[in-house]
Each structure stands twice: as structure tokens, then as C-alpha cells.
């Protein structure tokens, strides 16, 4: 088992390296010249040279990459071209804000989605199954920016129960989830963001449970005299690795932030930051954010892998 864990961690390193190469290349893959945004249109050749030197664009690519990577691992992602603030601070703030939504959306989505799927999978073809499938399809196919707007109209404008947008009067820096006056701002975006994962997890769970319940060993469990609850426990353990894989993916997607949802709720999260960076051609911010998110994604997958192998011993051999 320890060997397997080490092996998986070692596999993750080249993946992370590959990701960083891609992120670095973004500067050159993106059309246009990043310098254009910082330089005035009438900049002289001399000024261009100076700025190029300052940003290190004059060195050969592999050297640029090595310098960039050695800084990145210490948390130095350079300066944002648009705000002149350290990219690191921008990312910490944005990913932190999105993370705050995710911390609530994930348990909500996982528990509701999983319970719905479990119920449906235990009674395939029955009314519960059909209602769950209906709700799941609804959740997945609703455009979430539309849902966001409807939520704002209903709960903020019409009923005035909850605030519509933003992170409270003091903004992102003073935000505390422990104060209801701040935490109420989380409610609508969290619910909106949970919809798609609820649908996807419900469907995956339903399929995995229904399929597992048809396996031969379930009959053996019944033949042993186990009650329905004990049988379900076995079924869930068998179905869990497949569900975990999907949960991991959903976790990753949520962490990336939804540009549309964060825009509707003016929530300064990672989606917001990315969209701003794209508009401003702010390549350092783009690079840094994508790299952080990609590494988070790789880490989540690693954790999922390890959890799966803890549950299902057959995975450890592969």
C-alpha cells in the first residue's frame, strides 16, 4: 500500500511539470504580444528593449522557463500587468474566495446528490427513481447563470431574504464566514453552484448502485441472511470508487470557478480573476491562476486515486 501511494505521488510529478510547461507557453500561444498592453502605442524601440529586459523576454525560451519555474515554486508568479500587484496575492484572494463557495457547495452537492442517487439506484424504475432522474436532468441542463439571475430576482429582489451580489459591505478582505451578516452572501451562489454537481453525482451514483446491485455477490449476501441495510452497505462500498472519481472532477471544476456565476453575483473568485486576466491580456495572472488550478486538479485526482485504492484492493495492483 505505501508503495502504491509513493508510486502515485511520483506519477503526479511529471504531470504537474507538463502542466507548468503548458502554462508557461501560454505567453507565446496567446495571439498578440503581451508587451503591447503595458507599452504606450507610441513607445520607442529603446523603451521596448528596456521593458523586454525587465520582464526577461530577451532570454532564450528554456532559460525563461527555468527562471519562471524556479520563482513559481517559491510562490513568486511575478506582477500582474493590469494591477501591478503580485500575482500570488491576486491568486490567493481569488482562489480563496471561490474556495469559500466550494467549501460549502461540495458537501451540499455531494450529500444531496449521493443520497438521491442511492435512493434511485435502490428502487430502479420506481417513482423515486424517475423523480430523481428528472431532478438530475433538470439540475444538469439548467444554465446556471440563468438560475443565478432567477435566484437573485426571487430571493433578493422580490422576497428580500438574501443579498443579491458581492461579499458584504467590507468586501473580500474583511469577509468572515462566521458572521451571518457576511455568510448570508454565500447562500445564493453556493446553491447555484451546487445544482450541476448534484445532478451529475445523483446520476453517477444511481447508475453505479443499480449496476452493483445486479452483481452476483449481492445474492450471496442475501443468502447469508443479511438484512437490506447490510446489503446496501456492501453495495455502497463497491459503488463508491466510481462515484469518487466523478466527485473529484466536480470538485476540480468548482474550484476553477464559474465565470458566469461569479459575474452575476460579483463574487471576486477564480472565474472572475481569469475572465479579467483574459480581457486585460494579463498573462502572468493567467499563467499563475491556471497553474495553481491545474496543480489543484492533479492533487485532487491523486487523493481520489488513493481513496479508491483504499476502498477497492483490486486497484492497488494496477
Amino acid at each position: 500500500m505505501t508503495r502504491y501511494i509513493l508510486q502515485r505521488i511520483l506519477y503526479a510529478i511529471p504531470i504537474a511539470f507538463g502542466v507548468s510547461v503548458v502554462c508557461f507557453s501560454l505567453v507565446y500561444l496567446a495571439p498578440g504580444d503581451p508587451l503591447q498592453t503595458i507599452l504606450p502605442p507610441d513607445a520607442t524601440a529603446e523603451t521596448i528593449e528596456i521593458v523586454k529586459k525587465a520582464y526577461g523576454f530577451d532570454k532564450p525560451l528554456p532559460i525563461q522557463f527555468a527562471i519562471w519555474l524556479s520563482k513559481v515554486v517559491t510562490g513568486d508568479f511575478g506582477m500582474s500587468i493590469a494591477t501591478r500587484r503580485p500575482v500570488f496575492d491576486e491568486i490567493v484572494m481569488a482562489v480563496g474566495n471561490t474556495g469559500m463557495l466550494v467549501v460549502f457547495a461540495i458537501p451540499l452537492a455531494f450529500s444531496i446528490g449521493f443520497s438521491m442517487g442511492l435512493l434511485a439506484g435502490c428502487f430502479p424504475g420506481k417513482v423515486v427513481d424517475r423523480s430523481v432522474t428528472g431532478i438530475a436532468v433538470f439540475g444538469v441542463s439548467l444554465p446556471n447563470y440563468w438560475l443565478a439571475i432567477v435566484m437573485v430576482i426571487v430571493f433578493a429582489v422580490e422576497l428580500s431574504w438574501l443579498p443579491a451580489t458581492g461579499m458584504g459591505p467590507k468586501g473580500s478582505d474583511a469577509f468572515s464566514v462566521w458572521r451571518w451578516s457576511d455568510a448570508r452572501f454565500l447562500v445564493l451562489p453556493v446553491i447555484t453552484l451546487s445544482m450541476i454537481p448534484i445532478g451529475i453525482i445523483a446520476r453517477t451514483t444511481r447508475a453505479a448502485i443499480a449496476e452493483t446491485r445486479n452483481q452476483d455477490f449481492v445474492q450471496t449476501l442475501r443468502a447469508k441472511g443479511l438484512g437490506e441495510m447490510a446489503v446496501i452497505r456492501h453495495v455502497v462500498k463497491n459503488a463508491l470508487p466510481g462515484v469518487l472519481a466523478v466527485m473529484g472532477l466536480q470538485f476540480g471544476y468548482l474550484l476553477g470557478g464559474s465565470i458566469l456565476v461569479e459575474t452575476v453575483f460579483t463574487w471576486p473568485g477564480s472565474g472572475f480573476l481569469l475572465s479579467k486576466a483574459i480581457v486585460n491580456r494579463d498573462v502572468p495572472v493567467l499563467q499563475g491562476t491556471i497553474l495553481v488550478l491545474a496543480v489543484a486538479f492533479v492533487t485532487i485526482n491523486l487523493v481520489v486515486d488513493l481513496l479508491q485504492s483504499l476502498i477497492d484492493p483490486r486497484i492497488r495492483r494496477g
Partner: protein, 333 residues
């Protein structure tokens, strides 16, 4: 002499699978009894309803299965049992061994956990006791280095060991009746013999009754006291194993025997009888075997052939029997 109460008693069992488009008549009036310490072998080709009959004894059939008739096992009216009483019977007094040891065990629990769970379910003892019992059981079924095997997952064992573990699990609560659904079919020939010998030995030692399903006559000869031959959901012939193998009465049994006993390859036994089994959704009105039968005569297709009892303990359902029985019994008798 008083006859002991039979361990298993099935009377006129019917099982239908009612589907949206059609109904499968899997079992159509099966009767048999098994006494304590005896082994009944149910023989028959694929689809003849052997597994369904066996599962009916534990009510291990899906909800769309409609069961009629009388099923008594270990002194209980199985079809009347509900909830916990039924679960106490399953794995307690009656247990089952399945054909595929690979898929019949839960892949994500160790052998020890799975046996221990059964023990705890029926005796309510603590984990340590259940573990000790599991170890004892693995030793009973002769699994080498049993202690280590308790921590093994099913995929880490060979087919033969897995089936032994399955047997150990079935034996965990000293059942009075053991149901074995082709327990050796999925195993290699040499392993098959070992498992068979083990099963017979344990059955005798523990004095259990056993119903053993197989389509291998050789296996039946090895293990059975009595044999029941099934065709299209009915028992077409039954009786003591020696008599049936020596002098089969029903043309179907004769066909099965002719192909195996006289040195033909085992895997061809079904081909020896021309034609194929009937569609269980649309059974013929009369004898289901008639279309394939070499001794078919007028009247075979008119009604289901009545049961004949040509000698004590023997039954054959064929209208050609009376005449034929005399001949055969004269020759072999």
C-alpha cells in the same frame, strides 16, 4: 420405524417470471424430498430450472418471480416466512454455495470479514469470536495457511481456494441443509474432484442434507444418494442414483446417459440428444421432451405425462414407460 421429518420438502412447485411482454414458466410442478444426511442431485441441461428450484428453497428469487406450491425447509414453511424469520433461515439453517466463486464473493471485503459477518449475523457474537470461528472454518475446508488467507481478498485466491472459502462461509452457522448450485462447474478438472470430495466428506461428517445441482452425470454418480432429472421445469425421472444410472427409464435420462457413460467426451453430452430444449415462454401442452424424443408416439403431445412409480422410490413421467419399464427392469433388474 418412524420416518424422520424430511429436511426439505417441495410439493408441486411452480415458478413463473412475469414480464411485461411474456411469462417464463421456469418451474412447472416439481416435487421432491430430502432427508437428513442425504444428498439429492438435480440433473438437467441448461435452462431446465435447476437454479430456480434451488433458489425457491431460500426464496432468493427476484420480485417478478411468482412462486406457488409448498416449500418446506428445516421444518419451516418457506413461502410463509417474512422478514427476519426468513433471514434467520438463510445462512442459518439453510445455506447456499454458488457456481462462480469469483463473482459470488464481495470483491472489496476480505475472506475473514465476509465469513465473520455471517457468523456475527447469526450468532450475535463479537468480532474476536467470529474471527476465531472463521479461522476454524478455513481449516475445516483445508485452506492452507488459513490464518493468512483470512486477510486475503477474493481476487488474491485461486478459483479452488475461493470456492473453498465460499463453502466455509456457507458452513459458518452449521446449516442443516446445504444447497449447492453447480459448485464445481467453474473449476479446473483436478480442482473439481478435490472440492467434490471435500464437500461430500464435510456433508457426511456434519450429517447435513444437501441438494446438489449439476449437469454432469459423473459428479452425480460421485456424490448423490438420489437423483432427480429435470427437463423444461419438470422432474422427468427420479430415484436412487445407482438404479437410475444402471437402468434409466425416461428417454431423456437414457439420452443423457448414453452420451456420457459410454466414453464420449463430456462436453458433448447435450449434443447427443438431437434438437434443443423448448422455449420456456411457450411450452408445448404435452410432454416437453416429445419433440426430441426417439420413442415419441401418439398421445405424447396431448397431455403432460403422468408420473409412474415402477419400483419403490422411483418415478418416471413418460407414457411410454409401462411397456418399456418392464423390458428394462427385466434386462437390468
Amino acid at each position: 420405524m418412524t420416518t424422520p421429518e424430511p429436511l426439505a420438502e417441495v410439493r408441486d412447485l411452480h415458478v413463473r417470471f412475469v414480464g411485461r411482454e411474456n411469462t417464463v414458466h421456469a418451474v412447472n410442478g416439481v416435487s421432491f424430498t430430502v432427508n437428513p444426511g442425504k444428498v439429492l442431485c438435480i440433473l438437467g441441461e441448461s435452462g431446465s430450472g435447476k437454479s430456480v428450484t434451488l433458489r425457491a428453497l431460500m426464496r432468493l428469487l427476484p420480485v417478478q418471480a411468482k412462486i406457488e406450491g409448498t416449500v418446506r425447509a428445516a421444518g419451516r414453511d418457506v413461502l410463509a416466512l417474512r422478514g427476519k424469520a426468513l433471514r434467520d433461515l438463510r445462512g442459518g439453517e439453510v445455506s447456499m454455495i454458488f457456481q462462480e466463486p469469483m463473482t459470488a464473493l464481495d470483491p472489496v471485503y476480505t475472506i475473514g470479514q465476509q465469513i465473520g459477518e455471517t457468523v456475527r449475523r447469526h450468532t450475535g457474537c463479537d468480532r474476536a469470536k467470529a474471527w476465531a470461528r472463521a479461522l476454524e472454518l478455513l481449516e475445516l475446508v483445508r485452506i492452507p495457511s488459513a490464518e493468512r488467507r483470512l486477510d486475503a481478498y477474493p481476487h488474491e485466491l485461486s478459483g479452488g481456494l475461493r470456492q473453498r472459502a465460499m463453502i466455509a462461509m456457507a458452513l459458518s452457522c452449521d446449516p442443516r441443509l446445504l444447497l449447492a448450485d453447480e459448485p464445481t462447474t467453474a473449476l479446473d478438472a483436478t480442482v473439481q474432484i478435490q472440492v467434490l470430495i471435500l464437500l461430500r466428506k464435510i456433508q457426511r461428517e456434519l450429517g447435513m442434507g444437501m441438494i446438489f445441482v449439476t449437469h454432469d452425470l459423473g459428479v452425480a454418480a460421485e456424490i448423490a444418494d438420489t437423483v432427480a432429472v429435470m427437463y423444461a421445469g419438470r422432474i422427468v425421472e427420479s430415484g436412487p442414483v445407482g438404479r437410475i444410472l444402471a437402468a434409466p427409464l425416461h428417454p431423456y435420462t437414457a439420452g443423457l446417459l448414453a452420451s456420457t457413460v459410454h466414453g464420449q467426451p463430456r462436453d458433448r453430452d447435450i449434443d447427443a440428444i438431437p434438437g434443443s430444449p423448448p422455449d420456456m415462454r411457450r411450452l408445448p401442452r404435452g410432454c416437453a421432451f416429445a419433440p426430441r424424443c426417439s420413442r415419441r408416439r401418439e398421445g405424447c403431445l396431448a397431455t403432460v405425462p403422468p408420473e409412474h412409480y415402477p419400483e419403490p422410490g422411483r418415478m418416471a413421467a413418460c407414457i411410454a414407460i409401462e411397456k418399456h419399464a418392464e423390458d428394462t427392469l427385466l434386462v437390468h433388474g
